[in-house]
């Protein structure tokens, strides 16, 4: 019983942290105390936080390496925006349309996750890393060759051609224009939408982790053979964690895309996948609050470093290295633990520390 109340406590800290951060930022924005460039970053930060928390489910909790998380974001971004544009006439209410689009983005990304997971997750070994890496690249190239338009007769899809091949009617509109991506998006993502998506993500991930299924997932991360011997259906739980992770990335993709007027597939490339992996590793494997903070801070830093101009990425890299050294340093860690005492909320107390 004691342990349950302890995890419940640390979960509350995580929700509380997000809500307080939201309140503070809304207050600063209202009083005009925030630069416009930073204000523009609020929605991307939310999207990256969701990406990091969801990737943590695969990498930290399930213990499988995924190198193509941006691929799921891409699937969610493009399907979500297509849905949103197609539904424009049907659902004029923007927040509702946004919510439905995110659900559609999540469903499509979840299906992509299932398609990859079914063959790969039955195998032992690091096949998932290789396959997700390939998936990220393949999905990028597919969307680059994809043309989608809409008119009164419905959706038109064409592949490897050009937008003329869509045969749209008079009232038609090209949505995805191959390598040009989607342009003319009505930006309906707001910071509030982003925070709601973060809270929903936390609700799903934290509840999963603290459930019977979550314990089974962590058991199979710990020792697969032992997990099989006590009767845990290994493939089922791997699929569950991986598909949920992919679906949440899809919703984050929709959120992200609806914040820009133009979105192209190459935005969601290997670098983005690695960036998110960096958030997860720096925040701590299995540590949800860590992922949130790492994603937020590391998205803001490059923005703050604008004044360094050309040296921006250099300074960013140095910051990363310093943080990496600091978080893996035993002395620093024990100091941090003393300072933070009991309030270091980690969803999995049993995750190995360090590499």
């Amino acid at each position: 019983m004691k342990r349950i109340s302890k995890t419940a406590h640390s979960n509350l800290y995580t929700y509380g942290f997000v809500i307080i951060a939201y309140a503070v930022l809304m207050l600063i924005t209202a009083t005009g105390g925030i630069s416009s460039s930073l204000k523009g970053q609020l929605v991307p930060i939310c999207a990256y936080v969701v990406m990091a928390v969801s990737l943590n489910l695969t990498v930290g909790v399930l213990g499988e390496l995924s190198l193509g998380h941006a691929g799921f974001m891409s699937v969610g971004a493009f399907t979500g925006v297509v849905a949103c544009i197609s539904l424009e006439a049907l659902i004029p209410l923007a927040p509702l349309r946004m919510a439905i689009s995110m659900v559609i983005g999540a469903l499509c990304a979840g299906m992509a996750g299932a398609l990859i997971g079914i063959p790969v997750l039955r195998l032992r070994g690091d096949y998932l890393a290789i396959v997700t890496l390939a998936f990220g690249e393949i999905i990028k190239n597919i969307i680059n060759c994809l043309y989608v338009g809409t008119d009164s007769r419905g959706l038109h899809i064409s592949f490897l051609t050009n937008s003329d091949a869509l045969n749209l009617g008079e009232d038609g509109r090209v949505i995805i224009d191959g390598p040009m991506g989607i342009s003319g998006i009505t930006k309906i993502s707001t910071f509030t939408t982003g925070i709601i998506l973060i809270l929903v993500t936390l609700f799903i991930v934290l509840n999963l982790v603290n459930s019977r299924s979550g314990r089974a997932i962590m058991a199979l991360r710990d020792n697969r053979i032992a997990a099989e011997s006590v009767g845990i259906p290994v493939t089922k739980y791997k699929m569950m964690a991986f598909v949920i992770s992919a679906a949440l990335a899809g919703a984050a993709g929709t959120l992200y895309a609806m914040n820009y007027s133009t979105i192209i597939a190459t935005k969601f490339n290997f670098n983005t996948s690695i960036l998110i992996l960096v958030f997860v590793v720096l925040g701590g494997l299995g540590n949800v609050l860590g992922s949130i903070i790492a994603a937020a801070v590391l998205t803001v830093i490059p923005e703050l470093l604008r004044e360094f101009d050309d040296y921006r990425m250099l300074v960013y890299a140095i910051v990363l290295i310093l943080v990496m050294i600091a978080t893996n340093n035993a002395v620093f860690k024990s100091m941090l633990r003393r300072v933070l005492g009991k309030i270091r909320p980690s969803i999995t107390k049993d995750v190995k520390e360090g590499p």
């Binding site: 314990r215 089974a216 058991a219 710990d222 020792n223 053979i225 032992a226 997990a227 099989e228 011997s229 006590v230 009767g231 845990i232 259906p233 049993d350 995750v351 190995k352």
Partner: protein
């Protein structure tokens, strides 16, 4: 209660198990002995559904379990203690035991108390992380964990491996107690002397097929077995 009939198991092109048949009756201790690489672990993994046989059938409690998923087989009351002390390293002793009851619904307190009574050492170490237990304690933990699923038949893969003689005796005594309390046992062992001395019946596996079978006593007294497996 368990009847394995003519199974053939392959690792790719390697024909590891060649037409093995064996049987465990209710209440028995049956042992499967043989040299390294004879295929003992392979037989156990096939019974528990981790590997598939190309032929034959495996009947457990009148049901063909050949094509059942491994977690379904545990649910049916057939538990395996895998080779090499596979504890959940990052969980405590208590959490390990809780995971052992994964396939069961309802209250596990009673079973947990029984397991602790059987292994008082585990009770002392209840809150210790399993990765820091000694080898002997880890072996007790995996056995206790398997008992948490309430198995009717318990399969043990080399429970005495790497343990000091006194611990080996302890482990064998526990196996006998479990058996008296109603759990049937299929025991794979390198320590043929000990295994044969507690077994009702025994099978000797040689490069993938059963070479000899008989009662424990018959095999201990057989000259060939003594030469091959009991060191003279």
């Amino acid at each position: 209660m368990l009847k394995v009939d003519n199974i053939n198991v392959y690792y790719g092109a390697i024909h590891a198990i060649k037409g093995v048949s064996l049987e465990v009756n209710e209440g028995e201790i049956v042992t499967l002995i043989g040299a390294n690489g004879a295929g003992k672990s392979t037989v156990l993994k096939t019974i528990s559904g981790l590997l598939r046989s190309k032929t034959g059938e495996i009947i457990f409690l009148d049901e063909n379990i050949c094509s059942l998923a491994s977690h379904k087989i545990v649910e049916r009351g057939l538990a395996q203690v895998p080779e090499g002390r596979r504890v959940f390293l990052q969980m405590t002793v208590q959490e390990n035991l809780e995971m052992g009851a994964y396939t069961r619904r309802g209250n596990i307190k009673g079973t947990m108390e029984k397991v602790y009574a059987q292994f008082p050492r585990l009770l002392e170490r209840r809150k210790q992380v399993a990765g820091t237990l000694s080898g002997g304690e880890q072996q007790m933990l995996v056995m206790g964990r398997a008992l948490m699923s309430h198995p009717k038949l318990l399969m043990l893969d080399e429970p005495s491996m790497g343990l000091a003689p006194i611990l080996v005796e302890q482990i064998f005594a526990i196996i006998q107690t479990l058996n008296k309390e109603g759990t049937s046992i299929l025991l794979v062992e390198q320590n043929a002397q000990m295994a044969l001395s507690i077994a009702d019946r025994a099978y000797v596996l040689e490069t993938g097929s059963i070479a000899v079978s008989g009662t424990g006593r018959e095999l201990i007294e057989s000259d060939n077995i003594r030469k091959a497996y009991l060191g003279g």
